[in-house]
Symmetry: C2
Subunit: 445 residues, 2 copies
């Protein structure tokens, strides 16, 4: 039996940074990362396999970073966890650990719809061979239906459309796509953009069954309408992969994730968990959070990896910062949306500004952008932001994330010293975040 | 004589936001903005007149924002200021004010070089007709020399080269271009980029005279070397335009700028000043700062405009956040450089990471980026950052600016919750700012 100081189970967006962080903080410890996959997919890159990058082989996390950090890699399935004796039984060697990090990720949720087991119906499983088989099925497909209009759904739709499929339809149960992350006015912009790219959107529509004879041929909606489908992709969401923790009788949260405290420690003092498999709470009110994002996984991994032999870091809960892009339209969101904030009981001030991302407007790449900020009225603290525009939106949202995490007020934002440049940003006179904050202050009086 | 509650002198990056901010905070006051220019140039856009946008007419600040905010515009030269009677004499109507904001801007510095008065030698004066005359002179120019390799100098050089001039040479007295804003490794990248675009760079070179017979034909360097020149552009820097304040016997600072306190109030309680004409101090040590940026002007204007009838806002000093772009290479800087920090007496930890701006690397627009962060060793507080990469750098630097302004520590940065996306940003596993912070922490131990 192999003896290792630190064992990480899982080799993706949580496992890798957990291992690297452990190495940085515990230079004299031995570290072993166990994963079942020969090759690990970049999770956020999966939709792009089907159009832009063209193959799962071009969307892999390289193993070099493990070698570089002196982290042993064991490709094997973990069969059981004996937490009393600190032993993992695996399909290869058994391993004894001193500290263990569970970074087991998540699995796609299967909605309660008859017909899911038919050929041609694919949940998004993060496996190279599986994704290659989806790609194979898409080759001859004429009608593709994506169930779920979240960011995975819209990205899959656009990439599959790009690959040459004639009819691509998103079916979303909510009134709008992306409505868990954006307020309606942003969702509608993205829907219109998708429609302009030839994608069909059926929102406010519930799938009641998937029909066919062994192989799918139709998706049936509530009300009787049916859509032809050679291939169906399920982009409904994901649930924590906590089988190992359950078997070992670690405490789980109500949603079945591995329960962790703010230090990412489980109910066993030698075992930590991070990423999609671990339970999460909201930065805003401490309630359970359903967010599962690679960027949250890396954040939690940096906590878990540092805390293994002495607590150094603490999670403030998930802010929820993410972005998406379809063609030349990018959108980012951080914190609460207006709808979420009102539902959570906040008295809010919202302000929105439309502006250009260049100055003067004749500079190359100039386009309209929309920035919406949300503040708690009595304190003036920023609790959310949404932005829409060009590729730089992916970083604008991180500026807003910094403001939210540091609980900056509208006054702080107005006093924000920005860098601006004609070829890169909005004019300093109308820098959207600053301008929106000033407009919010006027409403607070 | 016209009587107005609030008078702003100057209509550019300080004057406009001062007026707008005053309107937002004092809705029942009358506001008049006096400026001498019929049309106002976007200051940062001036280099782009010569290549990308093609004409001064395409680089103007629209007046619509004044009308929209019920701000009267008076196009006239202010001839004198009588602060006892609160009267401005102008080339048009005289105006009596209750509160006055001086937003008079700056003028190009003329270096002590013989020959500056020759035809073909142009300081960068912010005037539509004047810039049109530079453009006219460039039409037949074969050899253009830019004196000064700051951001104005390199942007002018690249735009003039783009416009078709055969030989464009930057002469910079320091060992590298941009060295007031970037550490050497960044400066060298930009210099190599400029060279690859056909621009000649002579750094560590001092101009001793400009020669010719009435019209410039040669720029002579220390050591005797001379460079042919049909046109010479001076991009040396700017000095505060404080003539009106001097005449009115307002207090000036040692460098001749209008002295202001942290509320942007001058030595007269009814007069405020902001932007290039006002004295500035560093965010880091409170010493005088020579920075003159449109984004600082707007920041100060939002303070001055809000404080006119009751102090509400205070300047923390200038952080110094700016970016530049040449072709597809963008660079941003915030706070102190390593060289500046060491000179100021900081014990610093510097860390640099090179990474991609996309994940996987096959995503469109993927390119290498460089991120350098500087932390004060004992506190771990971030005091500077430099980034190099694609267009999104213009916003990345604003995330760093938020971190610097809120005195975040390396630990805060490691705990930063980012938004990431394959088509927009680096991978969350190697998000450069977070990664650089973790590497810095390892050095602090």
């Amino acid at each position: 039996m192999k003896k290792v100081d630190i064992v990480i189970v899982g080799g993706s967006a949580a496992g890798i940074p957990a291992a690297i962080t452990a190495r940085r903080h515990y230079q004299d410890k031995t570290i072993c990362l166990i994963r079942k996959e020969e090759r690990v997919l970049i999770p956020c890159g999966i939709p792009y396999i089907f159009g832009t990058v063209g193959s799962p082989d071009k969307n892999l996390i390289p193993d070099g970073v493990l070698e570089k950090n002196d982290i042993e890699l064991l490709v094997a399935e973990v069969l059981s966890l004996d937490k009393e004796n600190k032993i993992l039984k695996t399909s290869g060697e058994d391993v004894q650990y001193d500290r263990l990090v569970l970074a087991c990720g998540s699995e796609p949720v299967a909605p309660p719809i008859p017909g899911l087991d038919m050929d041609g119906v694919f949940p998004v499983v993060k496996d190279v061979n599986y994704l290659s088989s989806i790609q194979e099925s898409l080759k001859d497909a004429k009608d593709v239906v994506i169930i779920g209009g979240g960011f995975i759904g819209i990205e899959f739709a656009d990439e599959i459309k790009k690959s040459g499929v004639q009819n691509v339809t998103i079916v979303e149960i909510a009134p709008h796509c992306l409505s868990l992350a954006y307020d309606d006015e942003f969702c509608i912009e993205m829907e219109n953009h998708l429609i302009s790219r030839g994608i069909n959107i059926m929102s406010g529509a519930k799938v009641v069954s998937i029909a066919g004879e062994g192989t799918v041929d139709t998706v049936v909606l509530e009300g009787g309408k049916s859509i032809p489908a050679d291939v169906v992709i399920l982009g409904i969401g994901a649930k924590a992969n906590s089988d190992l923790a359950r078997q070992a009788e670690l405490e789980l949260s109500a949603d079945g994730a591995v329960a962790v405290d703010r230090n990412m420690k489980t109910s066993d003092d030698s075992i930590f968990a991070c990423g999609d498999c671990a339970t999460k709470v909201s930065f805003f009110n401490g309630r359970p959070s359903a967010l599962k994002l690679a960027s949250i996984a890396t954040f939690e991994a940096r906590i878990a990896g540092a805390n293994l032999f002495g607590i150094k870091r603490e999670s403030v809960g998930t802010v929820g910062v993410w972005s998406t892009a379809v063609g030349d339209l990018a959108m980012g969101t951080a914190g609460l949306t207006e709808a979420m904030a009102r539902q959570a009981g906040y008295d809010i001030v919202a302000s929105t500004v439309d502006s250009s991302n260049r100055h003067p407007g004749g500079m190359p790449g100039a386009r309209g952008t929309k920035t919406k900020l949300l503040f708690e009225r009595s304190s003036g603290v920023i609790i959310g932001g949404q932005v829409m525009g060009d590729v730089a939106v992916g970083e604008v949202i991180n500026t807003l994330s910094a403001c939210i995490q540091k609980k900056m007020t509208a006054e702080d934002l107005v006093m924000f010293q920005t860098g601006t440049h004609p070829a890169l940003t909005a004019s300093p006179i109308v820098y959207p975040m600053v301008n929106a904050a000033e407009l919010a202050i006027a409403q607070m009086k």
